[in-house]
């Protein structure tokens, strides 16, 4: 297979690699370089300023706020989303095992229906989801407050996105709503590959559902949970949180920057305030946070690999 091999390799790689290098790798390297300049992004001139942007960032109150919110997104969102999804996936796949003449391990009734429905939000654009919930949260005419009125809670009419204490939680709830389904399906696929004999054996030993879950399902699914965790954290730090915060909260960034996240702050500095160099500096901080997050999760989650 040697004949013309290298010409073929080069021919096939040149275009994809070229596009990728030009639009992804090169801007990425450039942005780290720009973080040491005073480039505005508006004019082509700039000069090197060393670590000025970085020291400015450390004194920037809004940066710290956005970092705090981003960390909350990265740590809390995966915990809530993945716990919910594990519970649903377990019920759907293993939970309903008390049926006569059926297989030993099976899901509750209607499990395939749940799997399809839960996934709905995942196929919708996060921008559309954000718009939809921005209306639902509307304090006067939104669906949520009118439900509250409907069940007699007239006194409880939060401003939701307008309330600095609530806005961030309201936005995070939307991300939970839109991502749980993906993890239900992901964990279902993982659970389906756990051998039924394991469950049979546990059943014979009289294990209840909780024991089965914590002693069999979770340990055997751990790799999937972990990669799901990293994936969700990266999403929560990046694109998804950008869209929900930018679209849903007033400002955008919420009252008194109560919902600003790092990725939104990068966008605003670069494309609204004409401070491209400073924006890339915050971007570098975001990269560090992302990598640190992934490293911590991988390390905390390290266990002996289970073979089955």
């Amino acid at each position: 297979m040697q004949h013309g091999k290298y010409r073929f390799i080069v021919g096939f790689l040149a275009l994809p690699l070229g596009l990728y290098a030009l639009f992804v790798v090169w801007p990425f390297i450039q942005s780290i370089y720009y973080s040491f300049t005073d480039w505005t992004g508006l004019s082509p001139e700039f000069k090197m300023v060393g670590f000025d942007n970085y020291s400015r960032m450390l004194d920037d109150e809004i940066f710290w706020k956005s970092l705090q919110h981003s960390l909350l997104f990265a740590l809390l969102l995966p915990v809530v989303t993945i716990s919910l999804a594990l519970f649903f996936a377990f019920m759907i796949n293993v939970g309903g095992r008390k049926r006569k003449n059926g297989p030993v391990v099976s899901g509750v009734r209607g499990s395939s229906f749940y799997k399809i429905v839960y996934f709905f939000p995942q196929v919708l654009s996060i921008a559309i989801v954000a718009l939809l919930f921005a209306f639902a949260y509307n304090p006067d005419s939104g669906a949520i407050n009118s439900i509250l009125r409907g069940i007699g809670l007239d006194g409880v009419q939060p401003l939701w996105l307008g309330d600095p204490d609530l806005a961030l939680w309201a936005v995070m709830a939307v991300l939970v709503w839109s991502t749980v389904g993906f993890f239900v399906v992901l964990f279902s696929a993982g659970m389906a590959s756990i051998p039924a004999e394991m469950y049979e054996a546990a059943l014979l030993d009289g294990a209840g559902r909780a024991t089965t879950f914590f002693r069999i399902t979770l340990p055997l699914l751990w790799d999937t949970v972990q990669s799901g965790w990293v994936y969700m954290g990266i999403l929560a730090l990046g694109a998804e949180s950008f869209a929900v915060v930018q679209i849903m909260t007033t400002g955008p960034g919420g009252p008194d920057y109560s919902t600003t996240v790092m990725v939104l702050y990068v966008y605003q500095k670069a494309f609204r305030d004409g401070q491209a160099a400073y924006a890339t500096t915050i971007g570098v901080a975001l990269l560090v946070v992302t990598l640190a997050f992934a490293a911590v999760v991988m390390r905390l989650g390290r266990r002996e690999r289970l073979e089955y």
């Binding site: 429905v117 196929v123 919930f133 696929a189 009289g206 914590f214 494309f271 924006a279």
Partner: protein, 307 residues
């Protein structure tokens, strides 16, 4: 919880001792009772979540058929009559038809490009040994964990300098570039699983490398292409951040952008019913595509994380 960390079953044949040591055998009758209580409880939660997923969507559909006044006065009531005019107004006056067309063009072009370029790169990386192979592979894979926003600032100027800002083909090229990491990752794994013998036979018969690829390997890779194709379709159709930054010309807006802009401007005009009609219009195609291709969507989306 030391016990959960290493329950590796030592006597592998029996497969049972995972829990034997830890759990005392509970009496079956008590277990059954726990089962029924738990069942009602957990069924309740499952139903509740299904309800919470479906309600906002149904609410949007319902609202898109109402007039503006009843949207505000009674958000949950059924529409008095079906106001189809909301839909036609959104489609023509609010430019939803243009946004739709732009999205179809951008996603169509990017999807074809992503699949062709992605499978070419993946094929070479999966089946040929050459210096730098690993490096290029990991360079592609690394893109999956980049915070895209970091690259977006200089990317804006790269695209601008090439004269590609606010153009459909510029957006297509950028979409392709950002779709390559996952596509290459997925398809490389897929090409490795395909048998080599067929390709070798073709090569012995005198087919060139590229001919072998296009006429033999690509058709064999069809299931993988379908999965990764649907994954990319959803991702590119739903893309919001890239067009927001690279595509500020009102005439070139894609659907997600158009809707967000519409929401801003309708705030002044007050045409909420038209906006809801637009929202539902943008939701329906992907929901329909998902229901039809449900199995492939799930395969495509879960394959990456499971491998």
């Amino acid at each position: 919880m030391k016990t959960t960390q290493s329950p590796a079953p030592v006597p592998a044949e029996s497969g049972a001792p995972v829990t034997k040591a830890d759990t005392p055998a509970g009496p079956p009758p008590k277990e059954k009772k726990e089962g029924t209580v738990l069942n009602a409880f957990s069924h309740g939660i499952l139903v509740l979540w299904a309800f919470m997923v479906v309600m906002p969507l149904l609410w949007a559909v319902m609202t898109s058929f109402k007039d503006d006044r009843s949207i505000f006065s009674s958000p949950w009531s059924l529409p008095d009559t079906l106001h189809f005019d909301n839909w036609s107004r959104a489609w023509t006056e609010a430019n939803m038809s243009d946004y739709f067309l732009n999205t179809v063009l951008v996603v169509g072009g990017s999807l074809v490009g992503t699949l062709v370029l992605g499978s070419m790169a993946a094929y070479v990386l999966a089946r040929f040994d050459f210096p730098g192979n690993r490096f290029i592979y990991y360079l592609f894979i690394g893109g999956m964990s980049f915070p895209i926003m970091l690259a977006l600032v200089p990317l804006f100027y790269v695209v601008n300098n090439m004269g590609l800002l606010n153009t459909i083909h510029g957006l297509i090229l950028v979409y392709i570039a950002y779709s390559l990491p996952f596509t290459v990752f997925f398809l490389t794994a897929f090409f490795r699983t395909l048998p080599t013998s067929v390709a070798e036979a073709a090569f012995v018969d005198g087919a060139s490398h590229s001919r072998t690829f296009f006429q033999i390997m690509l058709p064999m890779a069809k299931p993988g292409l379908v999965s990764v194709g649907i994954f990319n379709f959803l991702g590119q159709w739903n893309q919001y951040m890239l067009p927001t930054v690279l595509n500020t010309d009102p005439d070139k807006r894609v659907l997600t952008q158009g809707l967000v802009q519409l929401a801003v401007s309708q705030g002044y005009k007050g045409d909420w019913s038209g906006l809801f009609a637009g929202l539902v219009m943008a939701m329906l195609p992907v929901l329909a595509a998902y229901i039809i291709f449900q199995r492939q969507v799930v395969q495509g989306l879960t394959a990456g994380a499971l491998k």
